[in-house]
């Protein structure tokens, strides 16, 4: 279904240009409604404001190490918009917009980054989502397993797993793609190629011209999309999901994007990349682009933009305070989720630590 966009021929699916105009071919592809685009816009603005506020909090000493999302929001927002709320969402750690889109409360997301494990409390039937996965490249295998479970239980849910381009160097990543190919799993592998894995540029991560083309070696399709283009991401994920739901197997989608900020608040990108590159990508900001589109279509007025931004910032601030106010995990909390029942050694160790 992605024949027209074969990455091996240097093609990339791109629909919304930086000026905010949609390409004609969009009519032949799945496309979100105006309401959905507006919803995605609001989610992306909230993600952007929440992100900036988190960095600010880190500088104030109120937030431990935080992972930045600036510039990548359209990838996970567009992908989650194209899926059903009960399709499984297997994130890496740079999918803030997608998490908001999935309905995870911002205060809970903040709770995680603030260093409270309750941030990862995700009842299965509520979110159909796994917690943030820090070991790079490890979680795509879980997506393959989830897809197997869904199929065996007779459901048509599909699974999306996110990872960076750095993750594609891990053995687990290749094992996941291979298994998915062999099992024809209903999985969408979504690689956010943000050009940098901390200080390593994508060109030194792999000798392949694209991430997407790796899929063909595993026996399924790969497609590269403009990851700063909500419409392109949506169209690709929607088609991949439809295919997966119909039993057509996995797809690898490479969102070609850019990390505008530091890797985390502990990183200083000036050690390894030049400002001019960042500036070039700033002009391709997914949020600006969407804003232009909505303005051109008359769906958003100039004053709405400021208004939404301010409301989102206020919301981020309030939600962070909610997370900050919550009690620290108790001593018991560090023990009681290790097993279904506290075994002898743990019970003894806990007793010994009680004041």
């Amino acid at each position: 279904m992605f024949q027209a966009y074969d990455p091996r021929e240097g093609k990339r699916l791109s629909l919304l240009n930086p000026e905010g105009c949609l390409a004609d071919c969009v009519s032949a592809l799945p496309r979100p409604s105006d309401e959905e685009v507006l919803e995605a816009y609001r989610v992306m603005v909230l993600a952007r404001q929440a992100d900036e506020w988190a960095v600010n909090l880190n500088r104030q000493g109120r937030m431990p190490t935080y992972v930045l999302n600036e510039g990548q929001e359209a990838n996970s927002a567009g992908a989650l918009l194209a899926l059903r709320p009960d399709d499984w969402f297997v994130p890496a750690y740079r999918e803030l917009a997608g998490m908001i889109m999935r309905g995870l409360p911002l205060h809970q997301i903040y709770l995680y980054w603030h260093g409270n494990e309750l941030g990862s409390h995700l009842p299965r039937e509520t979110y159909h989502m796994l917690p943030i996965s820090v070991p790079v490249g490890s979680q795509p295998l879980h997506a393959v397993g989830l897809a197997y479970a869904e199929r065996l239980r007779g459901s048509d849910r599909v699974v999306i797993a996110f990872m960076g381009e750095g993750a594609t160097s891990e053995g687990d990543w290749h094992e996941a793609l291979n298994l998915a190919g062999v099992w024809k799993s209903g999985v969408i592998f979504f690689t956010q190629n943000n050009q940098w894995a901390i200080s390593l540029p994508a060109g030194k991560q792999t000798a392949s011209a694209t991430v997407a083309e790796k899929a063909f070696a595993y026996g399924f399709e790969g497609v590269q999309v403009d990851g700063n283009d909500l419409f392109a991401v949506y169209a690709a994920v929607r088609q991949a999901a439809d295919k997966a739901r119909a039993g057509g197997g996995p797809t690898l989608i490479e969102g070609y994007t850019y990390r505008l900020g530091a890797h985390t608040t502990s990183d200083d990108p000036r050690h390894y990349r030049v400002d001019s590159e960042v500036e070039r990508w700033r002009a391709l900001d997914p949020l600006l682009r969407l804003e232009r589109y909505l303005r051109l279509r008359g769906l958003l007025r100039k004053k709405d933009v400021q208004d939404i931004k301010q409301k989102c910032l206020a919301r981020a601030q309030a939600e962070f305070e909610q997370a900050e106010r919550l009690n620290d995990p108790s001593l018991e909390d560090t023990f009681r989720f290790m097993f279904h029942e506290l075994p002898q050694p743990l019970a003894r160790q806990l007793e010994r630590r009680r004041p």
Binding site: G115, N116, V134, G166, S199, H271
Partner: protein
Amino acid sequence: MSSLCLVEAVTDALAVEMEADPAVLVFGQDVGGKGGVFRATVGLQERFGEERCFDTPLSEGGIVGAAIGMAVGGLKPVVEIQFSGFTYSAFNQLANHAARLRNRSRGSLTVPMVLRTPHGGGIRAPEHHSECMEALFGHMRGLKVVIPSTPYDAKGLLIAAIRDPDPVVFLEPARIYRSVRQEVPQEAYAIPLGKARVEAEGSELTLVSYGAQMKEAREAVRQLAAKGRSVELIDLRTIYPLDAETLVASVRKTGRLLVVHEASESFGAAAEVMAAAVEGAFEHLQAPPARLTGPDVFAPLARGEHHYLIRSEQITLEAERVLAYEP
């Protein structure tokens, strides 16, 4: 002499050995241009070139597996695994090949490599960044496991590790990477692996620790001294092979033992130290050997860290309990 903190002593050891031996090379994630996420390899690429200090793709199994081949091929790779918990991804290569190749090939092929990785928590880090894996490595067989607690030891032990003919896991206590400075000789010097260091002599209790936990142990010794108690403080420095000789000699003298480590309790290094004391100094013991360790849980994230870390006051309390024990 120069005044260095622990992470600078690591950099210094790497530079000195790269200078002395063209077979020594340093690689891993972000170690080249960026100089490592903890800045442990700063300047090495500029000084020794991209062939001897370079960034790899994001692949721990690849890093360790390739290092094994390099080591067999006559090089001396020193690899960095960025954060402790990501060493798990390299366990297959480490346990099945690095540790075993000498034995498998009946001594004909050896793996003189060093795996450096940060150790321990207390730095408000994300999950998987605070692991204490020394017991796992110690249990693997075929690996030496080293952990310094001072800048001076860091340099000398790392140099010895690089020169060692067998694979060495070199654990770096991240919490104290920059916390203290010490005068460190500019030239190369090796501190023998497998030797614990008696840091302070005492007569009533043997207190054993290592890595970042030594900081709290030292403080506890001061607190106890202020109360008139005489404690012998031993820095283990090498987890495997364990220096039972030094430990036993001390316990024979003091009759009492307390082992303190951040790592979780069950099947941990403390159990091994206690076993050595029981085996070697049984008739001298005046109290059951004791341990104060992390519980068998995962290191909590930032807001729960205080439940996990061992403070000097806790060590002092536990030491007093051991000292008060009457047979």
